[in-house]
């Protein structure tokens, strides 16, 4: 993978971006979240060998945090898209 498509800036060299790890939804109500659920959100990862939804940060560009879908076996990027808060 040499290029990544920033939703703002278009195709850029992947060295402009920082990898932000696998996407996982944040617990909705912190006070009603058990230790096990927090541990699951903070630490546990699916770490799939296949299509993975993940965070990227255009750190040396516009500064946007966005999501990408990528095959982790081949590094082929399926798509990149802006993060939309699911239930505000």
């Amino acid at each position: 993978m040499l290029l990544l498509t920033c939703p703002n800036c278009g195709d850029r060299n992947v060295s402009e971006f920082r990898f932000g790890g696998e996407y996982g939804p944040r617990p909705k109500d912190p006070s009603a979240t058990s230790d096990a659920e927090w541990a699951n959100y903070l630490y546990m990862r699916h770490n799939v060998m296949g299509a993975q939804t993940e965070w990227w940060h255009h750190s040396d560009g516009c500064g946007l945090w966005f999501l990408a879908e990528r095959y982790t076996r081949t590094n082929e990027v399926i798509k990149t898209f802006p993060y939309v808060k699911r239930d505000a």
């Binding site: 990898f19 696998e22 630490y43 546990m44 990862r45 770490n47 799939v48 982790t72 076996r73």
Partner: protein
């Protein structure tokens, strides 16, 4: 060794006997170890030798030692940051020291000394702390300064000219390098002699669980019934553990290394720099083996990159300017699964009979003997040895992490 050579000379040039045999897959094994690397084979060996459990299968999807065991830079050391880590890796170094005798096979362990350079005040403080922790645990490890560094390693640029001048180093005399393939082959041979079945080209495709207990393993060569499965597939561990519905705190990231053309002997210590993200040693063949920090994003791909070569070349020249005309012979990548605290995860899982030996990040090979030995004890007795209790899976939920980031690898 020499008697074998002489015997071989009168042998009519027939090939020597195979070091391990091939077998048909049996219907049932007492213990199934997934992953035929140094860890899995060591565990099989210690199960057979120390606990008399010989009905063991080691399943390897490729050839033995094809993963991290054959891709690491073969550095052995125990100068870690936490007491738990130092104690554990120190036992590993002690087992490595005896390994050639133990396996009756020369693993070429060369304890030539290990230097971790500090280029900043913060770096010096970390080294000082590591030296103290190491000494309390009885590990030979101390802080040394540029004059002594220069005498150990004359070609290292210890002047104040570089961008990252060398202020001090953590010197660890028992550290060194080893022939990693020999470790794999030695364990495989001795496990085979004791009746362990090594199955190469046998990939696990599923694990059967009934009422929360493991009952069997599906492979590309058929079904195996068993009550005990050890997942020793560091790098790919999440994919195996997902088969029983357990999540692990791991992210798989490639780690690259390269080797130069052979040179005359000029470097007889292992040199590591965290700030410059590089470690370098010279093999008995004269080649310089160099490794760096992990790649910038997670992946199961083992492709090398030009970005890595450019980066490491610049950093090595910062330390050894005289190497500017040396050519790179080849580069390769292995995959490492990084846990959040840079310490391994060993022991039980919520699934009865499914044990893990995972999370080996960038430091797995140097722990092979002790990991194999302690896990064999765990399988045989059902009780985790005290040495691996800190590395249990439940530590993440209990908020009892073993923070080894400062000493486990370079440049994270």
């Amino acid at each position: 060794m020499s008697i074998q050579l002489i015997r071989q000379a009168f042998n009519g040039n027939r090939p020597p006997p195979k070091m391990w045999r091939s077998h048909e897959l049996k219907e049932y094994y007492d213990v199934v170890i997934i992953g035929g690397g140094a860890h899995g084979l060591a565990c099989a060996y210690y199960l057979a030798k120390e606990h008399g459990i010989t009905d063991v299968a080691v399943l390897e999807k490729s050839y033995i030692g094809a993963g991290g065991s054959g891709r690491n830079t073969a550095i052995i050391r125990s100068n870690y940051l936490t007491s738990e880590g130092v104690r554990f890796y120190n036992q590993s170094v002690k087992l490595y020291e005896q390994l050639s005798d133990e396996l009756n096979f020369n693993v070429m362990f060369s304890q030539r000394g290990h230097l971790t350079l500090a280029h900043t005040d913060g770096g010096v403080n970390t080294m000082r702390r590591r030296a103290e922790v190491n000494q309390i645990e009885g590990v030979d490890s101390r802080l040394i300064f540029p004059d002594d560094i220069k005498s150990l390693c004359p070609y290292l640029d210890v002047s104040d000219h570089p961008r990252y001048p060398i202020l001090a180093a953590l010197y660890h005399p028992p550290g060194g390098i080893i022939r990693h393939d020999a470790v794999v082959w030695g364990y495989a041979h001795q496990a085979d002699v004791r009746g362990v079945h090594i199955h190469q080209n046998t990939e696990v495709t599923g694990i059967k669980v009934q009422d929360g207990k493991v009952t069997g393993v599906e492979t590309t060569r058929g079904h195996i019934k068993t009550g005990t499965v050890l997942n020793a597939t560091a790098g790919w561990a999440s994919t195996i553990t997902a088969m029983v519905g357990v999540k692990l705190p791991l992210t798989t990231i490639p780690l690259q290394a390269c080797v130069t053309e052979p040179l005359k002997p000029f470097l007889d210590v292992v040199v590591v720099s965290g700030s410059l993200h590089v470690y370098i040693s010279q093999t008995d063949r004269g080649e310089l083996v160099m490794g760096a920090s992990v790649d910038p994003f997670s992946s199961y791909s083992m492709a090398g990159s030009l970005a890595f070569l450019e980066g490491i070349a610049g950093h090595v020249l910062e330390l050894f300017p005289s190497l500017s005309h040396v050519r790179i012979l080849r580069q390769w990548a292995g995959i490492c699964e990084m846990p959040p605290d840079y310490s391994p995860i060993m022991g039980f899982t919520p699934v009865n009979g499914f044990l893990i030996d995972v999370g080996w990040g960038t430091y797995g090979f140097k722990a092979s003997p002790i990991a194999g030995k302690t896990l064999a004890e765990l399988i045989a007795t059902g009780k985790p040895p005290i040495l691996i209790v800190p590395f249990r899976l439940s530590r993440f939920e209990e908020n009892d992490l073993v923070g080894e980031k400062g000493a486990a690898a370079v440049g994270h």
